[in-house]
């Protein structure tokens, strides 16, 4: 059985290798279509047109001002377009009529002035409505350009506004500082006045006190001088008395000394000696008169020193009050409002999966058209090969031979699977080498949807072969179904361009699931896990087709069809 299977497999592969046209169809044709589609549909996928694919954009600068210059400068550096400076609208329209361009941009006269004066202005985009995509791209480009210019103008205005605000803020602060300084000067002046007044008061008090003191001192000195003079005269008057009293006292002490010596000499007799006569007692007044000094004598005689003279109060000097200058009460200076132009709303696009934002067109086209040609190849490879076998009569012979007929069928399907996988691998390799397509983070994971769609396509070829009895029926039937599957399934354009209901319908096609897996792996750069479910669905469809195909095939063969 295995030997027969191997022989049948080798036979089918050999048949394929002998089919030069078939090989071309499987390999070269898809490469050509992929190249053509990739380049021609680049804009459809949102890729940047470059070089020969760049759009021609006639530019009519009727303004001649800075806005026009800015637009021209920016467009000249835009690689997605080829700028063609056109002197007049008429010539721009002529270019559109000759279909050399899909749109032309006119900068009307006065645009710059309007901008400078703060008025609005309008750029004119002349369009050829047939070139929808080109217009859409150019419109986007012009919108970006307009946005950039407006952003720059807003930035400049904001800068000027900020400068004015800074100047106002500086002035406000300068004024506040000046007011502060004025207040400070007033306060200093007032303090100086207060100080002067205090000093005047001090001087007044000091002068008054000095005058009073001098007056009192003069009076005291005069009083003391008179008392001294009185004392001196009293002393002079009392001097003989005192001298007598002093001599008397001296003679009394000499008597006593004498008496003492007499008593000493009288020895034992001293006791017997009579007491001398007692000197007369000095009158007390005389003693005090002799004893007191002139001051006390004056005080006693003339009374104590004269009480201070009660001076009349000095008149108070009534200094004028220090004037209270009003405070510099500035109304609170309002803060310079932070006037700002409304900010621009920028759009930052970020891939949710970490994949590059810009799509390589061929990341979509290579798998898409590879799947298309794979399915067409399967249609031709399986269904036409089965029809060939029937037409050649080999099936008739094989069904009479010992090797199970199912072996022949399995070998035929297996050979197509091998060829299909090889075809896909080859196309992806060429896509990688030629167009730099992404193979995702795990390139080998691409084998999952590849084997899945190959299996489903092979089994579908069996369904077509079993459904269509003639070659003439196979091509239209299979082609219609495959073309529909490919188109609706997102092989030719992003499936998101389709309406929702069509996307729902597309889930019934294996192409949809294959493309979903390829997009996840190649464009969204997801891991193997993303391809598991689509691959399982593909194998499910393949199994369904296989069962249906075998049933139809067996039914027809048994009927001898």
């Amino acid at each position: 059985m295995l030997g027969a299977l191997g022989a049948a497999l080798a036979k089918d592969l050999r048949l394929l290798l002998r089919d030069r046209i078939g090989l071309v169809f499987l390999t070269v044709a898809p490469m050509i279509v992929i190249s053509v589609a990739g380049v021609s549909l680049a804009s459809l996928y949102g890729a940047d047109p470059r070089g020969a694919t760049a759009y021609v954009l006639p530019l009519v600068d009727e303004d001649g001002g800075p806005i026009g210059a800015a637009i021209r400068e920016r467009l000249e550096h835009e690689s997605a377009i080829t700028l063609r400076l056109t002197p007049s609208r008429a010539e721009a329209l002529a270019l559109l009529e000759r279909r050399e361009a899909g749109a032309a941009l006119v900068i009307p006269a006065g645009t710059s002035r309007a901008q400078e004066e703060g008025r609005g202005s309008t750029l004119l985009l002349l369009t050829d409505p047939v070139k929808y995509l080109e217009i859409a791209n150019l419109r986007g480009l012009v919108q970006e350009l307009r946005h950039a210019i407006e952003k720059e103008a807003r930035r400049r205005a904001a800068a000027r506004l900020e400068e004015g605000r800074d100047a106002a803020e500086r002035t406000r602060k300068e004024f506040a500082r000046a007011a502060g300084e004025a207040q400070h000067a007033i306060d200093a002046f007032r303090a100086a006045l207060t100080q002067l007044r205090t000093a005047a008061e001090e001087r007044s008090r000091a002068g008054r006190a000095g005058a009073e003191r001098q007056l009192r001192d003069g009076l005291a000195r005069a009083s003391a001088e008179r008392r001294r003079e009185v004392a001196e005269r009293v002393s002079a008057e009392l001097a003989p008395v005192r001298d007598f009293l002093a001599a008397l006292s001296e003679r009394q002490r000499a008597f006593e000394d004498w008496l003492a010596r007499v008593r000493v000499q009288a020895g034992t007799l001293a006791d017997r000696m009579p007491a001398p006569p007692a000197p007369p007692e000095l009158p007390l007044e005389l003693q005090r008169l002799a004893a007191d000094g002139p001051e006390a004598l004056i005080d006693r005689l003339a009374g104590p020193a004269e009480p201070p003279i009660e001076l009349p109060p000095f008149p108070e000097i009534d200094l004028p009050a220090v004037p209270q200058p009003p405070r510099v009460e500035l109304p609170p200076l309002p803060e310079v409002p932070a006037v700002a132009l409304p900010g621009t709303i920028e759009i930052e696009e970020s891939s949710a999966t970490g994949a590059p934002r810009r799509l390589n067109t061929f990341d979509q086209n290579v798998p898409g058209f590879s799947v298309t040609f794979l399915l067409l190849g399967m249609l031709l490879g399986v269904s036409l090969a089965l029809l060939d076998e029937r037409d050649w009569g080999t099936f008739e012979r094989l069904r009479s031979m010992p090797a199970p007929f199912s072996t022949v069928l399995v070998a035929k399907l297996l050979s197509r699977v091998l060829v299909g996988v090889t075809q896909m691998v080859l196309l992806f390799a060429v896509g990688r080498a030629t167009f730099g397509i992404s193979l995702g983070p795990e390139p080998w994971a691409l084998l999952l949807p590849t084997t899945g769609i190959v299996f489903a396509g092979t089994a579908f070829g069996l369904v077509v072969a079993a459904s269509a009895t003639t070659r003439e029926a196979v091509l239209p039937l299979g082609s219609i179904v495959i073309v529909t599957m490919a188109a609706v399934g997102g092989c030719w354009w992003p499936i998101d361009l389709e309406p929702r209901w069509m996307r729902s319908v597309a889930l019934a096609f294996p192409t949809t699931w294959a493309m979903a897996a390829y997009n996840d792996l190649m464009i969204r750069r997801q891991s193997l896990r993303a391809a598991l479910w689509p691959t399982a669905v593909l194998y499910g469809y393949g199994s369904l087709y296989l069962a249906l195909g075998l049933w139809l095939f067996r039914r027809r063969e048994l009927r001898g069809g």
Binding site: W392, G393, E396, A403
Partner: protein
């Protein structure tokens, strides 16, 4: 069903128990409302070449397809190589070599590649496949072109290769469906040799054809089918004898012969009379000279003379008639 004046078809039901390789008894097959086979019975012994004759749509290909296990019968008993069909189809296939009417070949492959592939499908091992391919290539005289793609072969070469593919595994039963259609005499001769050679090795061969001379030359027995039934069976001689047809002479004369010119010969009678063109039926070949002499004596200048002896074609037309069968044939091919 025997037609009026036709020979009732004998029911072939006698088998050589040991040597019989093909046994068919009361075989029936219907395609929808149309009955393709209605109780066909015959056998083919080992080493025997039996012709399966019949007009288009008679049921020849259906019979061969059932014997080749491609179709299943609605009723009847079929044994091939001793294996009952369809129950033992797999075993039966090991004994069968089937040569379909179309050249069942892969045109892009070479003759050798075709042979090796079919040898492998016949469950020969690779080495045996190689040697068997070389052997049959020599038999069919294609060893010099063995490595050329079949697409470039002439019809005769393809027919020979078609036969070689059917006999590569030395089948005990060879089923041939009009193997010589459209081939040149040389290829036909080589095919005959190959078939005869295989029969001489003991293979039972059922040979479907329209060519009577091939049957007369190659086949020991004939099974004549019409409308799904056997209308005659036996050796060629038996069948010819069975229709009781007489030899005839076709004369072309320069001038018309007078009436009664043949009245003196009782063993001969004119069966068709035209201007200068006559067909005369004679009782035996010995009567032919007398007829010619009578014509000359009657003043007829004989320009051409053709003698017709009863043959298988006469049997064929006698048993199946001369009506065209295109419509029925197309229906069967569908």
């Amino acid at each position: 069903m025997a037609r009026d004046g036709w020979i009732a078809a004998p029911r072939v039901s006698v088998y050589a128990a040991v040597d019989t390789a093909i046994e068919v008894d009361a075989l029936e097959k219907r395609y929808g409302a149309r009955q393709a086979l209605g109780g066909v019975s015959f056998s083919v012994a080992r080493g025997e070449i039996v012709a399966l004759l019949g007009p288009n749509g008679a049921g020849k290909s259906t019979t061969l397809s059932i014997l080749a296990t491609i179709l299943s019968a609605d009723a009847g008993t079929v044994r091939v190589g001793g294996h009952r069909l369809p129950a033992e189809a797999r075993a039966a296939r090991r004994t069968i070599g089937y040569v379909p009417q179309r050249e069942a070949l892969y045109p892009p492959l070479t003759a050798r590649e075709n042979l090796r592939f079919f040898a492998r499908m016949a469950e020969l091992d690779p080495a045996t496949s190689r040697s068997a391919s070389a052997r049959v290539l020599e038999i069919v005289a294609l060893d010099g072109r063995a490595d050329e793609p079949v697409a470039g072969f002439s019809l005769g070469m393809r027919r020979r290769l078609n036969l070689a593919c059917g006999m590569i595994h030395r089948p005990r039963v060879l089923l041939l469906d009009e193997p010589t259609v459209g081939v040149d005499p040389q290829s036909r001769e080589r095919i005959f040799e190959a078939v005869a050679g295989l029969a001489s090795e003991g293979a039972a061969i059922l040979y479907s054809t329209h060519y009577m001379e091939e049957v007369e030359r190659l086949c020991s027995r004939v099974v004549l089918l019409d409308e799904g039934k056997i209308v005659a069976a036996g050796t060629v001689e038996e069948l010819v004898a069975g229709i009781q047809s007489l030899p005839s002479i076709r004369l072309t004369t320069a001038r018309p012969l007078p009436s009664q010119w043949l009245s003196k010969l009782e063993a001969a009678r004119v069966v068709r009379h035209g201007a200068g063109d006559l067909e005369i039926e004679v009782a035996g070949l010995a009567d032919v000279p007398a007829v010619l002499l009578a014509a000359v004596q009657a003043g007829g200048e004989i320009l051409d003379m053709r003698l017709h002896r009863p043959n298988l074609a006469d049997v064929f037309f006698t048993m199946t008639g001369r009506a065209l069968r295109d419509e029925r044939s197309e229906a069967e091919s569908r």
